[in-house]
Subunit: 217 residues, 2 copies
């Protein structure tokens, strides 16, 4: 029997979104539990490490966005063909974490002086990383690894809009190869179908918001 997948995450397209893309890509039946910030406070202590995304696989429960994504990628055929290709994928995913963490740490910094100092750095860091990614995509024929779709591409694209929204502008302007990568991933039929159905993803701050979507493929 196919395993039962239940995702717990905010109504956001951040670190839980690659998991949604991968489950969709694999035409897997899954439950998409979306929580508001207020509801999160009430369920936080029930989550294994006080964080989301969390994925139930049958009766087991797992945390950590990239760990879960790597596992699902293997289920849906988006892992590398060998260990060296998987190393390239993992390298790209961790480079993306370095990149998006710079943006999040700046955005969520509550102390104005500290935030201003980070903003100065960010103006160099964002183009630094985007140039690296553009170079990787150029060397890898339109994808992050070896000229074909892998979960590294999914992981790059799925939460990208969220990080652009935090940053406050479309930081992909001037990076045509990265813009094309976004189009390639989002026009993949099963992912396009999910995107057409998914909620807007902006109600997570609403205290009485919570719903479960069931995707049946």
């Amino acid at each position: 029997m196919a395993p039962k997948y239940i995702l717990h995450y905010f109504d956001l397209t951040a670190l839980g979104e690659p998991i949604r893309y991968l489950l969709s890509y694999g035409n897997i039946n899954w439950e998409d539990n979306r929580y508001s910030a207020a509801q999160w406070e009430t369920i936080k202590s029930t989550m294994p490490y006080g964080q989301m995304p969390v994925l139930h696989i049958d009766d087991k429960i797992f945390a950590q966005s990239s760990a879960i994504s790597r596992y699902l990628a293997k289920r849906v055929g988006l892992s590398g063909k060998d260990d060296l290709e998987n190393l390239q994928i993992d390298q790209a995913v961790d480079l993306y974490h370095d990149f998006r963490q710079k943006i999040s740490e700046w955005y969520y910094d509550p102390i104005p002086e500290s935030k201003a100092a980070k903003e100065v750095l960010l103006k160099e860091q964002v183009p630094f990383y985007l140039n690296k990614f553009q170079q990787i995509v150029k060397e890898n024929k339109g994808f992050l690894v070896n000229g074909k779709l892998t979960w590294a591409d999914i992981y790059f694209v799925a939460p990208l809009k969220y990080f652009k929204d935090l940053y406050g502008r479309d930081f992909l302007e001037g990076y045509p190869l990265l813009q094309e990568l976004v189009k390639k991933v989002e026009s993949t039929p099963a992912i396009a179908k999910y995107i057409a159905k998914r909620p807007v993803g902006d109600r997570w701050r609403d205290p009485d918001f919570k719903y479960t979507l069931k995707y049946h493929f």
Copy 2:
């Protein structure tokens, strides 16, 4: 022919140290290039993503500490037995990154007001994570995953002293299962042999410091 491994990293036991432990554990011949902070400034632009650790595998070059560690773990028999076990390993490694990042972000924060705010949080965060890890080790019979040595244990132990030094005290006091885990990893014969031979790891700030060690097993 066996691949040729050359590691480039600071003379530190931080994010490059799990790679050194794994190469040692596998009795692999490797070169250990250790750089001072001043030398790093001169070679930074030659590194693929402006960061270390970096590992040459024959003529290919890879960055990202956990990506490289995951790859080497498979070479030396410290991966999981199946995909679910690998998911547990990856989950533990990423939880460790969350933990050590809290310490590093506090330690390296240059703005006193911001650092003080982080210090308040850190007093809750450090025991939060250590309690989680202690619980995981309890449930997994003395290791992080399924009662046997995996690369998650190596990744946890190898840089631990570095993060304790940043924090300024031995945060494992009161966590006997984690102390035992450190002993188990560090008394593994091939790792104990490496530890006995390795440099002190505190000269990386010295501007004219650079050497290459060759480990032949």
